[in-house]
């Protein structure tokens, strides 16, 4: 393993290649076009398919077709592009197809801007499409973690036969950091893909579908996929605790780029003698609800602060987790503004002084 300096977008692309046997379908959009540009060069070298689709609607559906063969397929896009994939995502969740979708979020709503944001949390975790389904949602906070979670994403997609969403923001996509790629992607064994569409040779025909006109059959499909969601809740909750201790006066919940900034703030305040802990959800769905509840309930915690690059989305889940046991505050900037450590720090100090309550 050697450390190389890479842009987040390119590192994600390379990570996908290292996940093995991947194919890519996408439509360009800032701030993640480098993913596709990198793959346009690299995939032909490793025998992977690269298709620039005519639109994100087509992308979602090309993924649908390609994933049904059991091969590893993925795309990358940014917020408006991901909105256009919602119908296909709902279909793929219903048809239980493994697929990895990278969303390098930008400011919204609408065309918004191209600068970093975290305002697609709801869309990602609650399902922007119709029907009862869930995506596994992973949120890296560094280029290295983007690499690791992209590779993990392919694994989890196959393990659960479910779409996996890796969401970063423009900052993760655009910045360069040193990364290491494992020499070999060491992956736990996966179940055989006996559902893969390969032609009905020596077996009964297989059908990949989300259509169940009989309501009992459709309900059954929902029950099956929801059983998987329960398994995910049991097995796939990931988070990081940073400087969480019995001295903390406040618990911060924050993810991705925003969490990194909070770490700087926590370091700074620690030097000033103010102890703050951070719980950084890495899996946004399943959400570390119980872990937050437990941390927030500790007697030393006065308040819980959620910091997001949005008008406040994850804070609803934090609120639900905390169950009113501590005040839950929110701080966020939107539109592409990445809050500076100074503003977060100021907000924390104000809150701890009791000058500001929700």
């Amino acid at each position: 393993m050697t450390r190389i300096l890479m842009k987040g977008n390119e590192a994600i692309a390379e990570a996908a290649i290292r996940a093995g046997g991947v194919h890519y379908f996408a439509y360009p959009i800032t701030p993640q076009s480098e993913v596709g540009e990198y793959l346009a060069k690299r995939l032909p070298e490793v025998g992977g398919v690269f298709v620039q689709a005519e639109s994100e609607v087509a992308v979602g559906n090309m993924l649908f077709g390609a994933a049904s063969t059991g091969k590893r397929v993925f795309t990358s896009s940014s917020s408006p592009g991901v909105s256009l994939m919602q119908e296909a995502i709902s279909y793929m969740a219903g048809a239980q197809l493994p697929v990895v979708i990278i969303n390098i979020m930008r400011g919204g709503p609408g065309l918004g801007g191209i600068l970093p944001a975290q305002s697609d949390y709801f869309q990602s975790t609650k399902g922007g499409g119709h029907g009862d389904y869930r995506l596994l949602v992973l949120a890296p906070a560094s280029v290295q973690e983007a690499v690791d979670l992209t590779m993990l994403g392919f694994h989890l997609a196959d393990k659960y036969r479910n779409p996996v969403l890796v969401i970063g923001d423009g900052m993760i996509g655009q910045m360069m950091e040193p990364v290491e790629f494992p020499d070999k992607y060491d992956e736990p064994a996966l179940p055989a893909k006996d559902w893969a569409i390969t032609g009905a040779k020596g077996r009964k025909p297989l059908i990949t579908k989300s259509l169940f006109l009989d309501p009992y059959a459709l309900e059954q499909n929902n029950i099956v996929i929801h059983a998987k969601y329960e398994q995910m809740k049991a097995n796939e909750i990931r988070f990081e605790l940073y400087k969480v201790s019995a001295k903390n006066r406040m618990l911060i919940v924050s993810y991705g780029t925003m969490a990194r900034i909070c770490q700087t703030v926590i370091d700074d305040l620690e030097r000033e003698g103010v102890s703050i802990g951070l719980l950084r959800p890495i899996s946004l769905w399943p959400f570390p609800e119980m872990q937050i509840r437990t941390e927030a309930a500790k007697p030393n915690i006065e308040r819980v602060l959620t910091v997001e690059m949005s008008m406040g989305q994850m804070v609803e889940d934090v609120d639900k987790a905390v169950q009113g046991k501590k005040p839950v505050d929110f701080f966020g900037r939107t539109g592409g503004i990445v809050p500076a450590p100074e503003e977060v720090r100021e907000r924390i100090l104000k809150l701890l002084d009791g000058k500001m309550a929700k």
């Binding site: 194919h23 379908f25 398919v49 298709v51 689709a53 005519e54 639109s55 609607v57 087509a58 992308v59 979602g60 559906n61 090309m62 993924l63 649908f64 077709g65 390609a66 994933a67 049904s68 063969t69 091969k71 397929v73 119908e87 296909a88 279909y91 048809a95 569409i197 390969t198 032609g199 009905a200 040779k201 020596g202 025909p205 297989l206 059908i207 990949t208 579908k209 989300s210 259509l211 006109l213």
Partner: protein
């Protein structure tokens, strides 16, 4: 004229192997059934059942996968060409066909079919043009005839407001990328025979890894046209075929062997 000598009793026409034994959900006389059978017969004849994958549309033929002994994907409305692209690109050894209605292909899915054709995706599309949205209860399609009364053109299709019917073969045949484009019909036995040939050519093109192929089939919807099945076949002849001329619109250049 071929002669097949045989002194025993032979079955000269029966349900194809690629067909399942289910009774279809189609209305009596709906020619979706004929087109299904022609595809199944072609699959049998080309001996490709075990490597064929169909992509079902949303439309009356949404349940087509129940009637074939081949693998199938059920696509979102209009997106079958995108699914087929994904499928065929990562598994080029499979024989992939989409089966799409006129609402599915010419309305919501127009972009997907034009771009697939333009990229020269090497799959086969069976495009069933019945001038209406059958499944949802007879709304106007882009292919609905001028003056035709449908549930969303209760005063007849007004070309001043809704435009003229779209002709997909004409549209696609302007593309520079090689492809095979033909329009056929199934309202008489003679036409059915010709349709069978066209479908066979389309699949053969794919087996030869040659080009994208689309066969547009003029079809009936007795139910939503408010006609008997026999009247419906006449309506194809009188109303549709003058506006939708039958024939080959585009052929790939002859292959030069190297």
């Amino acid at each position: 004229m071929n002669e097949v000598k045989d002194s025993a009793t032979t079955i000269t026409f029966a349900r194809p192997q690629a067909f399942s034994d289910m009774v279809t959900h189609y209305c009596p006389g709906c020619t979706h059934g004929i087109i299904h059978r022609l595809v199944a017969e072609t699959i049998d004849e080309l001996n490709i059942r075990e490597r064929t994958v169909g992509v079902a549309p949303v439309g009356c033929s949404v349940l087509i996968y129940n009637y074939f002994n081949v693998d199938f994907l059920e696509s979102p409305h209009g997106r079958a060409p995108a699914l087929a692209t994904g499928l065929k690109r990562v598994s080029p050894e499979l024989i992939v066909f989409t089966y799409q209605g006129d609402g599915d292909l010419a309305s919501i899915g127009l972009s997907e079919i034009v771009h697939a054709a333009n990229r020269g995706e090497k799959f086969t599309t069976i495009f069933v043009n019945n001038a209406i949205y059958g499944m949802t209860g007879g709304q106007m399609a882009p292919t609905t005839m001028p003056g035709q009364v449908t549930s969303t053109s209760p005063y007849g299709r007004n070309v001043e407001e809704a435009g003229w019917p779209m002709r997909i073969c004409e549209l696609l045949s302007t593309l520079r990328t090689p492809g095979y484009i033909e329009r056929v019909a199934v309202h008489t036995p003679q036409n059915i025979v010709r349709t069978k040939k066209a479908i066979r050519t389309a699949f053969q093109n794919q087996i030869d890894r040659r080009c994208f192929s689309l066969i547009e089939v003029l079809s009936t919807c007795p139910t939503n046209w408010g006609l008997t099945p026999c009247e419906a076949t006449n309506w194809v002849q009188t109303n549709m075929s003058p506006y939708y001329p039958l024939g080959v619109f585009k052929k790939p250049e002859p292959r030069i062997e190297v």
